[in-house]
Symmetry: C2
Subunit: 344 residues, 2 copies
């Protein structure tokens, strides 16, 4: 609100008084806003401090570890870092539901592994799926359609699917504290990317709405596409980018062109991304979310004596690597005041 000379001259005196009063109010409000905690869902502690220190050090002009705005990039893993990944990765739930849906046009799947296990909801057989089985399922559910058709299917699913424990859409099961970090970084000139083992076409249908992250800042596992004479792009059953482990560092270079200044993950698949980030100039920040809160979310590791898991494994070796390298481990139990935005 800028009260100019000209606008004041045409106002009657009483209006001028109101304008000045509003001005004062606005000033007070802005002042209060500037002092508001950018991370209200975090308990005070080393994790919160690491985030705030990083932002202040890299964005304060004259700081020896100042990072120019053009280089400010932060990368976030999706499953287990930005939203819930237990009891099973969201995209696997989508894949299984889609197999069941597509099975209506494929009566032969009823007796054909691995499809029959999904069609017959044979949990025992599904538990024994090999990587080849999973790739077969991904091929039939994620390929053979145009990019537009796939996006429509994924969008429809994400709009109606619900998490078995909270009975809420998966898009609500995003961690409020991590959303705050994302917004805090963006407010300080950081460009934020999702860098996930999940597929890029799947994630792109919700990242804008859930995180305010546009399609061109979503890096994921990618199938090859084929441009057709009818001016469509068809998804092919052929892996182009495997965005896990070293693939995360390699794909960040492919999409971004340089190391991220900050990187956030929660499992073995994120280690190389964090290491790549650590090599940057100026201050850098690496953080790993440790799921140690069975009550409010889940508890799994097996680091620190937590139960073992195949979904988002965080082994003790990764914990030790974090300690050695100066990466910060976030304890959900101790560092987060609340987990979800619907928590009180």
């Amino acid at each position: 609100m800028n009260i100019t000379m000209k606008s004041l001259r045409v106002m009657p005196l009483s209006s001028r008084a109101v304008a000045f009063a509003l001005s004062a109010l606005l000033f007070a409000a802005l002042h209060a806003y500037a002092q508001t905690d950018p991370l209200p869902s975090w308990n005070d502690g080393p994790a919160k401090k690491a985030v705030v220190d990083f932002v202040q050090t890299t964005t304060t002009q004259g700081s020896p570890k100042f990072v120019p705005p053009a280089e400010r990039v932060a990368t976030f893993d999706e499953d287990g870092t930005m939203w819930v990944e237990h009891p099973m990765y969201t995209e696997i739930m989508f894949t299984l539901d889609r197999v069941a849906e597509l099975a209506q046009a494929h009566p032969e799947w009823k007796d054909q592994p691995p499809y029959n296990a999904v069609v017959n909801r044979d949990r025992e057989a599904m538990a024994k799926f090999t990587e080849t089985d999973m790739l077969k399922l991904v091929a039939v559910t994620h390929a053979g359609v145009s990019t537009d058709e796939f996006a429509a299917a994924a969008k429809a699913w994400i709009a109606k699917a619900k998490h078995p424990r909270w009975k809420r859409p998966y898009t609500e099961l995003t961690y409020a504290p991590m959303q705050e970090v994302m917004r805090y970084l963006r407010a300080n000139g950081y460009k934020t990317y999702i860098v996930s083992g999940g597929t890029q076409p799947f994630m792109r249908v919700f990242t804008d709405e859930v995180y305010g992250i546009p399609a061109d800042q979503v890096i994921g596992t990618a199938l090859a596409t084929k441009f057709t004479p009818s001016n469509a792009l068809m998804l092919e059953p052929k892996l182009l980018l495997n965005n896990n482990n070293a693939g995360k560092a390699e794909d960040i270079y492919l999409f971004v062109g340089h190391r991220p200044q900050a990187a956030f993950g929660n499992s073995t698949g994120d280690a190389e991304m964090l290491a790549y980030s650590r090599g940057g100039n100026g201050a850098t920040l690496q953080m790993l979310v440790l799921h140690d809160d069975a009550e409010r979310e889940y508890a799994y590791g097996p680091a620190q004596g937590l139960p073992d898991t195949k979904v988002g494994t965080f082994p003790q070796s990764l914990y030790d690597e974090a300690t050695k390298n100066g990466w910060t481990v976030i304890s959900i139990k101790n560092d987060w005041k609340r987990v979800f935005s619907f928590d009180q």
Copy 2:
């Protein structure tokens, strides 16, 4: 400049008069600026009109072909569209120079094709290079080093190399009219990308300086990289993305996530990118630069009876495709008032 009541009150009367005079001046200057032609290097004609109409139609609120800011993407081919590609693609010149440089550590190349042809500057043998030969040269010049080492080599070359005809750095041989289109689109909310058959690591060393395009908006042919335990990314002699022809449409989807609203090219390798752009919602714009000005630049096609070439081929079939599809062909001779910014 916003002259507030408060700032005016503390000024002596003479300063207030100066402030008002400055205000008036600023207003006049801004007004003149707003009316300045955004495309001064273009002659009036259908090509210039196509650009201006597209920008006005897609950015005017309430226009039936309005494009929301989040969807405003424009893609530009590099060689022959943004800068000179004759007598030979700039990156090929770099590749040959780099082979000669690396040959000092490879005495065995003196007798080993295809390297010996380059080392001995045997133009006849080079003219007969097959695609396999070129890939071998790209492998030794673009791989086997870290991404940082490659960038340093490319940066050093581009800083000193000169075009054989103009004796100027290649980075000065960019087309002023196309730079104006880029800036005009950006000023109207368009995100501009380079989408080139050249390699991404090579282009990224100059696109920011030459076009104001950051590394994450450079799409190109890409070799695979490998993340190493020493926290470096090594370039591998393995093609990951072939960013030509259909590859351009496919890679735009990979990097951007949707069709570009406008696309600019100059040869057969750009046809699919333009077709992909044409499928978008709202108004779209596709343009092809025809090199028909031997005096100020080069003349080649072979469309419209121009001399044939293997570097940036624009055949009659592409010209006919453009006419059929409503793509605009830019005649350098007729549409451009000047070609380079150093032209008068």
